[in-house]
Amino acid sequence: MGSRTEILAKIKTNKPNLIETPIIEPQVFDEGLNLIEEFTKKVEAVGGQVVPITYEMDIHTEIKTLFPDTALNFSTLEKAISFNTLSLDNIEKPQELEDLDVLVLESPLGVAENGAVWVNDTSFPIRVLPFITKHLVLVLGKNDIVPYMHQAYDTLNDFNFGVFISGPSKTADIEQSLVIGAHGALSLTILLKND
């Protein structure tokens, strides 16, 4: 517990009188975005790509055309048996996922203003998956895009771990030169589903 009591007592003595919580009014920020257009623009701006697909298409076949020569693939989507070349049943430690080439996950939510896509660990059994994979493919429904972060948080309730991902991993720590692929995925593809 350490110095819990002491710290809380000090805060209680030193804090100012209660100040009211401000109310967030999302309409203040509303500029009538074209959600798909804005979302696509932002994903591309942060180094990702958006590929529109229709519901008749077989998602995994589409992904195979995007990544034809990859060895280790894993998808959490339905009908992935022929796509998956890796079985999580044999994975004991997250480290063993090190050579994963392509990971496909379904996302329930995208945000137009920043191209961020939400995934949480109800859809992927091992948390490091979307970070350790070389290429990340997220499947998102067109109608699941919200304009701003304010609306996004309205929908996020039950998760143990979740992450907004906006583009592939990147750094500019060497002289402000942008380099894609720091520690996480080297590429991010969003399959935008017409549903």
Partner: protein
Amino acid sequence: MSHPKLASLFNQNEARVDWHDKALWFVRHKRDLATHQVKGWEALRDLGHHIKAHTLSNLDNYLIEFEKNALENGIQVHWAANGDEHNKIVHQILEENQAKKIVKSKSMLTEECHLNPFLEAKAIEVIDTDLGERIVQLAKEPPSHIVLPAIHKNRHEVDALFQEHLNTQPCDGDPQYLTHEARKHLREKFIKADAAITGVNFAIAETGGFVVCTNEGNADMGAHIAPVHIACMGIEKLIPKQEHLGVFLRLLARSATGQPITTYSSHFKRPAKGHKMHIVIVDNGRSEQLGRPDFRASLHCIRCGACMNTCPIYRRSGGHSYDATIPGPIGSILSPGKDLTKHSSLPFASTLCGSCSDVCPVKIDIHSQLYKWRQIITQNTKQPFIKKKSMVFMGKLFTKPTQFARIGKIARWSLRYLPKSIINARPNIWGKSRDLPNGPKQSFDEWYKERTKK
């Protein structure tokens, strides 16, 4: 050494100053482009400010709420009154888990507590995994910026450093090659780590969870692979509700680098099966700062670094010239609260131009606080004799118009007739690189009186 001394050393290499200034101005420029695209940006800053002010006014209760929810989520919660206690807690957790190899993502708090040397002295390997932090760690230097830790290093210096420590090939400073070599090097460290330490960007009282933002994905690579995750947070990282994240995540990355959001905004709520999660809540002088009404708002800071990028002094003196964990304008209002004497030159390392306050996403009145620290410093620390005497003299002089006119006349005469070699000689520091104006024959006052007589 004081800020002016370190700053003048930095300024001995003017080309380097120009390069540093431009690199950071570029970031400020990207910030402008991003923020000017957001409808209601100023309203968003207002919200950020008021949510933080509200949180601080109820901080003890929010911390209790956060702790309760975190415990229910299966996270272990620890409290540290100061840096020393923080380090001991972290060490104890590591010992309990027989952790010898640690990967750490960016956390200014652990810098502040000097965690690395503490653990290294106990034969624990701590690897900073943010690329910029790894660069300065290899160079055995502190970060010079809170978001861009190695901004003071050029690509050729990084090249040389990597050749020495990571056995890379000479590459004429190719950032692509260097980054990919660092990826390989650090991938190995992630895979072998026994525990991961991360900072916390926001902790949410309502959910007992916390958010960590990175672009590289290093916090996640560490926290999800290693069996133990220790997240260290200052008490001021708390926000009441999840919906408040909507405000802060919109503000943070745009202010920091001009990105609409960081690549990864990771929301940790419950540990994964078979993994352990700890949170260390640290005070280390923050509750004291909370008790200073004039400086309380400095605790609003979300560590975006925008005040550094915009500060014309920071850009031209470098982060190390501040000799403090947090450099730049925000550091200059935080540091004096920790050690007034050591940091007494920092509030004076500003022209009070106010740009820092205007870029601040949570509207901290940084330049007003700099002004206020100045008043406290002159009263509580030793000041140069000449400065003090001349201020007292001027203060008196300006209450006596006739005397002011007489002294003014002498000053004007001197400027007019004394040789430049005498005027610009020491102790006239102004005259080292600048001329003084020629003394006019008449002051305005004299001219006005003459005109009125006519």
